[in-house]
Symmetry: C2
């Protein structure tokens, strides 16, 4: 399945978004302009603006406030990715060097702050207060989620509940916000906006669990990520949480002693993968993701059977089936 | 002269601000709460909230929206300082270890993002759109100013005009915004708001030029900063710009060759200081600062001669006389 199947119902709108996004990114400062043009090159699937446009189109035409919302969430998402790469010291992003690899940390943190303020200003200038409120809440949840994750990762005592709270904040919040912004541009019904927001939150949860599963099952030639890299980074995700919870104390201690030492993690990550497989951690995580996917689809049931709704449904499929 | 002379007219208001600020900083996440409590310990003179409160009091009572504005600018200022320390790799902040020294870069960038979004959310929840607009513009100017500075510093061709533009954006903008937010809470007159905004911008310019002068003239036991540290960091400020502009080509080249090499900067910064002294760079910068101080005072002339206005005038004096 290709992402193009999902985007076909808003392909014209995506083109228009892309043009406007480029215009907004333009800066009179030559260095800022150079870096932001590079940000455009690094671009991924632009799932968040896609969700704004699709959620708007569920209600008919895509209006200007939806385009502005799409631009704002993409600016914000780009800002957080740039900051993430700084904090992780990542050298690459989507197959090309990261901003910090090319321009160092100083410029990278500043460009992140610049994109963030640009997004907020852009919405303020257009009095998109509803979108602003939604997006600020997402920024707060993203930073809180990231901090909770670091905290729990350090202490190695993350529960399934903590994990779900972290991924809901880190991944779910901005995806949910994107859907809510799109919906709010097309309807005044708070119930309808809430339904699309729930769709986004569940989609985000399913997406992140599938993403975390790929660390155990993925084909590294396709994902571009080494198998077990999360384990090496001491990142404890749902499959491992389940496996630890369903094993005897002695076994738990054996795995914990690997996780505690960076040397052991580097050479014995395959032991951890085998342990997770044996305990049924992969099946369990896949089931939980299926549950959220079903809830995402269920959140759409109230809407008319139009092309945009069909695309949102296909996107759930796409997330559940992707192998990289 | 002590800052207490300036703050006495709003000492009760500052206490109330401080209480509310602490409440807003509180987080349910124990790590976030720990770091933000540490941020409170690192606090400086809180010039920006002071300016919000004084600018509001020029028009009479200090209302709730002024307190909220004061909290927002301080949250924002704290966020930018934390990011600054990350990008500069600073180990200390106001005599105690920096956030990045204690919690590493990852947590620091995130706490900065958290404080920024907290400030924005807080204003959004209270529908302080005017304040939000003012503050977002300041965030954009601050990041653009910082980037222009890095760009010009690298190429060593910064003019007086560039320098003034950089410090207006980096330092002037948030100080001007603080005054405008305070003013907007007390008057509907756009002219009056603009006058206090101009006061802030000029005050910020005078402050930064004085601050940059201290790098050449300061007593390191009082400033806590080594003399010539800006030169070592290849930071070219007004005294040096003037001196370079008023010297022969051969001399310019001699100084530039020192500035280009980090080794030479480290051992020969006293040569640069002597050169600047000899060319009259210190007197010139002091004159320019005096000019902005006079303009700041002039911007206040339309307002009634009350205690708050007197404090704003005293603050200009304080900035012009401080030795550390």
């Amino acid at each position: 399945m290709d992402i193009k199947e999902v985007t076909s119902s808003v392909s014209e709108e995506l083109k228009l978004f892309q043009e406007r996004y480029k215009t907004v990114l333009h800066s009179k400062n030559s260095l800022v302009d150079k870096v932001t043009r590079y940000v455009l090159k690094q671009q991924g699937k632009q799932i968040r603006p896609l969700l704004v446009l699709l959620s708007a189109k569920v209600f008919g035409e895509v209006g200007d406030s939806a385009y502005r919302g799409a631009i704002m969430v993409e600016l914000l998402h780009s800002a957080t990715l740039i900051h993430d790469d700084v904090v992780d010291g990542a050298e690459m992003r989507r197959g090309i060097p990261s901003i910090n690899a090319l321009w160092k940390n100083k410029i990278s943190v500043l460009i992140g702050d610049y994109l963030l303020s640009k997004g907020l200003l852009y919405s303020l200038e257009n009095s998109d207060y509803r979108s602003l409120h939604l997006v600020s809440e997402a920024v707060r949840r993203m930073s809180e989620g990231e901090i909770l994750q670091i905290q729990k990762t350090r202490s190695l005592d993350i529960t399934e509940e903590d994990y779900l709270s972290v991924i809901a904040d880190k991944t779910g919040s901005l995806i949910a916000t994107s859907c809510a912004i799109g919906a709010a541009s097309g309807t005044k019904s708070e119930d309808e906006i809430a339904s699309l927001k729930h769709y986004g939150e569940y989609l985000g949860l399913a997406f992140q669990i599938r993403d975390d599963l790929l660390d155990y099952t993925g084909d590294s030639r396709k994902t571009g990520k080494q198998l077990g890299i999360d384990i090496k980074d001491r990142k404890i995700t749902l499959p491992l949480i389940y496996a630890l919870q369903h094993s005897a104390k002695a076994e738990q201690n054996r795995i914990r002693s690997i996780l505690k030492s960076s040397k052991k993690r580097a050479v014995r990550s395959s032991d951890v993968i085998a342990f997770v497989r044996e305990k049924g951690g992969l099946e369990y995580a896949a089931e939980v993701a299926e549950g959220f996917a079903a809830k995402a689809l269920d959140s759409l049931s109230r809407f008319p059977q139009n092309e945009a709704r069909r695309s949102l449904e296909l996107l759930v499929d796409f997330v559940m089936k992707r192998q990289h």
